[in-house]
């Protein structure tokens, strides 16, 4: 074994000194006059960039508004963004950076279910409350007292859609789901809930994100005795499904979920989107609330301000971010100027009757999703617009 040379010792010393110097710069003390610092983990790169982008937009817009109005309890709101690149390992390191280096009081995020679950360990250890903007059922099903969620969970949406199918007498269902997280989640709940709703899954097909043609799957469905195609997918592949269905001349109705409540779907499928029925919250057509309700005012105001600032309509992801932001901010408002982190968690859990974009949130010690099927409606695509399905 070679000896440790003097040169080696020197190098070691220099390296250690350099590392220590870097670390020295990272320390930060939290003074009481500091803003409320909230960490945000979003996917700004990678495959969820299209979701993380509007989320960040909405968060920045709401941060500016609250600060312009004087902040919360005399302290401004400071959002610290971290990009997880749609990658679990980066989400985990982002969480520890935000919690340990930036000393945030709460975490908003992540964009995706996998990333939201990946940071669970850090959330447990630090007891910093997390409000996720991802829709995976597992986030609140695998219960943690510190973790909340703003999108409509599939456990609420799926039974609502299945009820709709049964009411229409569409009992033989062909299920078509994507093999990504959202579709898998929906698939598991649909197959579990369908028998309870008196429905029968007669064909069960999947596709992968990135697939360019679904005619083979749809041909299987065409050859079955299904009465309706239930598609559970988020992403551009839904457009391919709609196009292929049209092309194959399949006249079974096509029904989907909130994952398809995106402008891009209608733009991409054009005529093939006509007649498509989907379930989502009321934000798509705020008038669904009734024009003299608070829900309508909140949604219409948000849509107008977003459109003005960013030149396009907010989508449901911007709405999930709005809700996550204000759930935390409202909880901060109810707290005194100085508080312990655990009290912020308690206040978030005490959220009751908060009117957001996704609906009216009421959390409880056993329900951290906070929404109910009352927030949901069925839409139909008509002349390139969403209209309420009667």
């Amino acid at each position: 074994m070679p000896r440790l040379t003097p040169r080696g010792v020197l190098v070691a010393a220099v390296a250690a000194a350099a590392i220590a110097a870097i670390l020295g710069g990272c320390g930060r003390s939290a003074a009481s006059a500091e803003p409320h610092r909230i960490g945000v983990i979003v996917s700004l790169t990678g495959s969820y960039a299209g979701l993380g982008d509007p989320e960040k937009n909405a968060l920045i817009m709401e941060q500016e508004r609250v600060n312009d109005e004087g902040g919360v309890n005399g302290r401004s709101i400071e959002l610290v963004f971290a990009d997880d690149g749609t990658d679990e390992a980066r989400a985990v390191t982002a969480a520890s950076k935000l919690i340990e280096q930036d000393r945030v009081v709460a975490l908003i995020g992540a964009t995706g279910t996998g990333q939201s679950m990946a940071i669970r360990g850090d959330i447990r250890r630090s007891a910093v409350p997390q409000v996720s903007m991802a829709g995976g059922t597992v986030i609140t099903d695998e219960f943690d007292e510190n973790v909340f969620q703003t999108p409509w969970s599939n456990t609420i949406v799926v039974p609502f859609v299945l009820d709709y199918l049964r009411e229409r007498g569409l009992t033989r269902v062909a299920l078509l789901t994507d093999a990504g997280g959202y579709g898998k989640d929906g698939h598991a709940i649909v197959t579990a809930e369908a028998p309870k709703a008196g429905l029968e899954i007669v064909e069960d097909q999947t596709f992968k994100p990135g697939d360019t043609d679904m005619t083979a799957q749809l041909t299987r469905i065409k050859g079955s005795d299904a009465e309706v195609i239930l598609m559970w997918a988020a992403g551009k592949e839904a457009v391919t499904v709609a196009n292929n269905r049209e092309q194959l001349g399949i006249d079974l109705p096509l029904v989907g979920g909130p994952g398809n409540a995106r402008r891009e779907f209608i733009q991409g499928a054009e005529e093939a989107a006509e007649g498509f029925v989907l379930c989502a919250g009321r934000i798509l057509v705020p008038g669904a609330y009734g024009e003299d309700t608070e829900e309508y005012r909140v949604a219409a105001d948000f849509i107008e301000r977003y459109r003005e600032k960013f030149g396009k309509d907010p989508d449901i992801f911007a709405g999930h971010a709005y809700d996550a932001f204000h759930i935390v901010v409202e909880a901060l408002r109810r707290l005194p100027r100085e508080y312990a982190p655990v009290h912020l968690r308690d206040e978030i859990e005490a959220t009751s009757g908060f009117v957001g974009i996704g609906g009216t949130f009421t959390f409880s010690p056993t329900d951290h999703n906070g929404l109910s099927a009352d927030e949901l409606v069925m839409y139909r695509v008509e002349n390139g617009e969403w209209v309420l399905e009667e």
Binding site: S47, G50, T212, A216, V239, Q267, E270
Partner: protein, 293 residues
């Protein structure tokens, strides 16, 4: 299963297969001139769709012009990539070049997100109209476009390779680069041309598919994987081999959905691919290539 359904599955397989074939052609062309698998090939597929949709929507170009423009710009990007990132590596070490194309793929994808945004874009079909009915199966007009473009491309490439001085120079490069240089072939131009041509083919595939599937900045890699598999399956030889590889892979996927389950279509395709490789390590048409050259 009745005949119309079987035909429908065949159409589905041939449609995907044609797209895989266009990508496989790109892999084959670059491989022939450099011995390199171009990991950025999928990004040109993506660029084709993004650029065409962008030119169509933002500048209001008529669809044919937008398509030609997209192919031209993508080919330009391919040439620039070769000039700036491939050519400076003088020794032409294939492994180093492969890793450069990996870097290029990351770079092009990230830049596209900045330029085109993170959302998917749409484009109308080339010819509006109802699907054709063929023996009980449906055939949409865009599929005919995809087949037509692929067939034209293969015919043109075959002509180029067999009948023109440029093509002969390309083939000479493929057999032995050093010898080609000695007999006066400008190998550097050949490499540049192969990158441009491969980029154009990828872009063509991307823009032909976009009306049916939309396009997004990160859509290149998953399709490129299929194209790579098709190229290997065919044996990385002639244009015909690439098309055979693409069509076989497309049909394999489609038939595994028909007779097994869509959950395992990728696994089935991969297992068959591995089995073929194991039994014919040179690919399906690998030997044919050697005889021809």
């Amino acid at each position: 299963m009745g005949f119309p359904e079987l035909l429908q599955f065949t159409f589905a397989g041939l449609k995907n297969g044609a797209v895989y074939a266009l990508l496989a052609l790109g892999f084959t062309i670059v491989y022939a001139s450099t011995g390199v698998i171009n990991f950025a090939q999928g990004e040109f597929y993506m660029l084709g769709g993004m650029l065409a949709a962008f030119l169509f929507a933002a500048y209001g170009l008529p669809l044919p012009f937008a398509a030609v423009g997209a192919v031209a710009v993508a080919a330009g990007v391919g040439v620039v990539f070769e000039l700036l990132a491939i050519r400076p590596r003088k020794d032409g070490d294939p492994l180093a070049l492969i890793i450069i194309t990996v870097g290029g793929s990351i770079l092009i994808k990230a830049l596209s997100r900045h330029v085109f945004g993170p959302d998917e874009v749409s484009m109308p079909v080339f010819t509006r109209g109802a699907s054709l009915e063929v023996a009980g199966a449906r055939l949409e007009l865009q599929t005919l476009w995809i087949w037509g473009l692929t067939a034209t491309t293969v015919a043109a490439l075959t002509f180029l390779y067999r009948r023109t001085a440029f093509g002969r120079a390309m083939r000479a490069c493929a057999v032995n680069r050093r010898a080609a240089r000695i007999v006066g072939v400008d190998t550097r131009t050949m490499v540049m041309a192969s990158f441009g041509l491969a980029a154009a083919l990828g872009a063509l595939g991307g823009l032909a598919v976009t009306p049916l599937t939309q396009m997004r900045f990160d859509a290149g890699s998953s399709v490129a994987l299929k194209g790579f598999a098709a190229a290997i399956l065919g044996g990385l030889g002639s244009p015909v081999a690439a098309v055979v590889g693409g069509v076989v892979l497309g049909l394999l996927e489609s038939m595994s959905i028909a007779f097994l389950s869509s959950t395992y279509k990728d696994a089935v395709a991969l297992v068959v691919l591995l089995a073929v490789l194991f039994m014919r390590p040179q690919g399906l048409l690998g030997r044919a290539r050697r005889e021809k050259l």
